[in-house]
């Protein structure tokens, strides 16, 4: 579980994060959404420690990450897997070597065992046939999948994904979302995704934090979002006519199922 307690971050005079608090639970896909410049990337970088916070706390299973020294942070970081927006694969290594890298650096066991684990991870992301290829020789979607395989090879407790769908076609995006959701449930990982993608929000968002101008504007699940009265959130999520119609259809479906009462009650009680 990851807890954020009133985290603040400024660059010069500009305050980017204005006291954000939330809890991200294991086995759930936690999404950070918001317009460009709303502070979601800074928030993710603060959580993983690529940037320090000015004040507030980031707790990993009740351990205060912000007050740890480098040695202690290393321990937590070895439990973190991260998928970067540009995949961040090592250009000089093959797909197999990229996935093998964290195992070689930190893994125990024989070379055969490590190779078996790499093969398992590549099989999991359906990329066994690309094992000997270099990152420059594979597509963007495949790179993302290699990034996922590299992120999960050490069985992380926490998985971070920075815009996993950016630059991908809708079909590949769905594949990536499905894969991340399956892995989260399968290994009970605390997954945090920073995204703009509305498909991801509606299909995978077990817990969503909507950021607006450096503050947490709204928090809930993908089911709550359909009934949310928050105007800023609705303007952001259901920006087009098509999405507004989709929202109405989803409401109608939930109405037919009788789920709407619970969701409406939850939304009204929560706000």
């Amino acid at each position: 579980m990851i807890e954020l307690k009133d985290i603040r971050k400024s660059f010069g005079d500009k305050e980017i994060l204005k006291g954000v608090s939330t809890t991200m639970e294991p086995g759930k896909v936690n999404l950070i959404i918001g317009t460009s410049g709303s502070g979601k990337t800074v928030m993710m970088k603060c959580i993983v420690g690529l940037m320090g916070v000015d004040s507030g706390k980031v707790l990993y299973d009740n351990q205060d990450f912000t007050s740890m020294d480098d040695k202690e942070k290393k321990g937590i970081r070895q439990e973190i897997g991260m998928l970067f927006q540009g995949s961040a694969l090592f250009d000089s290594m093959t797909v197999e070597q990229n996935v093998m890298f964290p195992l070689e650096m930190f893994g125990t066991g024989t070379l055969k065992e490590k190779k078996t684990r790499v093969a398992e991870c590549l099989e999991r992301v359906q990329l066994k046939e690309a094992a000997k290829k270099y990152p420059a020789e594979i597509s963007g979607g495949m790179k993302k999948r290699v990034g996922i395989a590299r992120a999960i090879v050490l069985n992380p407790k926490y998985l971070f994904c920075d815009e996993p769908n950016s630059g991908l076609d809708p079909q590949t995006s769905l594949l990536i979302d499905k894969l991340i959701t399956e892995l989260t449930k399968e290994y009970n990982i605390t997954t945090v995704i920073n995204t703009h993608d509305m498909n991801t929000v509606m299909e995978s968002g077990d817990h969503i934090v909507y950021m607006y101008q450096g503050q947490k504007q709204w928090e809930g699940s993908n089911k709550d979002i359909v009934f949310s009265k928050d105007q800023k959130l609705n303007d952001f999520i259901f920006a087009s006519e098509f999405l507004r119609e989709a929202k109405e259809m989803r409401q109608l479906e939930m109405f037919k199922d009788g789920k709407w009462r619970d969701q409406l009650k939850k939304e009204q009680g929560g706000k």
């Binding site: 690529l50 070895q78 961040a88 250009d91 971070f160």
Partner: protein, 247 residues
């Protein structure tokens, strides 16, 4: 300007300090070090070979052009060529060229890793990126650049001999005789002291500029150019300082 100097110098020292931590996996660090030795040493051999040969040849011809007095024996040309190459051309000229070849490679490689988030990926894994990426480069440069300088010295002298013979300025026998006249082993120590210093400057300065790139592809190019310029200036400055101190 002064503040900028102190800002960079302070950050540079912090970068060097940051390299010293217990390696996460010694085998991987060793692998990285060997890779850098190959990249810097073998990768730069071709250019060092060509430059050294011509540097020796030109030195012989120019020295012969200037030594016109009949009372000075022709073998003196070889003596001048030897000392010029050992004292100055092999360590300094080779290092200036290597600042361009090796320095730009280090700066652009690290800059590209920074921009494409590869350094962030290593940090997230819990790896000390300064220790893993920069330290092996500096160690490899400190080891391989003196080797290249030594090779440049031999090749330069050989090039000088061949040029002398080809142009008919002096015979091979006269050249060999001149080579042995008043040879001081201290000059070789001096050349090696310079090359160790230059090796450290080239790798560390280039790594500093590459590692701290922010922005995009354009900034990688700028960092590369700045790394080469600053390395060259520091090499020349240290060349003067070491000459003043050691000779």
């Amino acid at each position: 300007m002064e503040f900028k100097f102190f800002y960079h110098f302070g950050n540079f020292l912090l970068m060097l300090k940051g390299m010293f931590s217990r390696p996460e996996n010694m085998k991987m660090y060793w692998k990285q070090f060997m890779q850098q030795c190959v990249d810097i040493g073998v990768g730069s051999f071709g250019i060092v070979f060509i430059i050294s040969l011509f540097m020796g040849g030109v030195t012989t011809l120019q020295t012969a052009y200037q030594l016109v007095s009949p009372i000075i024996p022709r073998s003196t040309i070889a003596q001048v060529v030897r000392d010029t190459i050992i004292l100055e051309f092999a360590p300094t000229l080779t290092s200036i060229v290597l600042a361009g070849v090796v320095g730009s490679k280090i700066a652009s490689e690290l800059g590209n890793m920074r921009i494409s988030e590869q350094i962030d990926a290593l940090e997230i894994m819990g790896i000390n990126t300064k220790g893993y990426l920069i330290a092996p480069k500096i160690l490899a440069a400190v080891l391989m650049i003196p080797v290249l300088v030594a090779i440049a010295g031999f090749l330069g002298i050989w090039g000088g001999k061949e040029a002398g013979e080809l142009s008919g300025v002096l015979s091979g026998q006269e050249f060999m005789q001149g080579l042995r006249q008043e040879f001081k082993a201290y000059n070789v120590f001096f050349a090696m002291a310079k090359s160790y210093t230059f090796g450290f400057i080239i790798a560390s300065v280039s790594a500093y500029y590459g590692y701290n790139v922010t922005g995009g592809a354009l900034e990688i190019g700028k960092a590369s150019t700045t790394a080469v310029v600053v390395s060259c200036v520091l090499v020349l400055f240290m060349d003067y300082a070491l000459t003043a101190i050691l000779l």
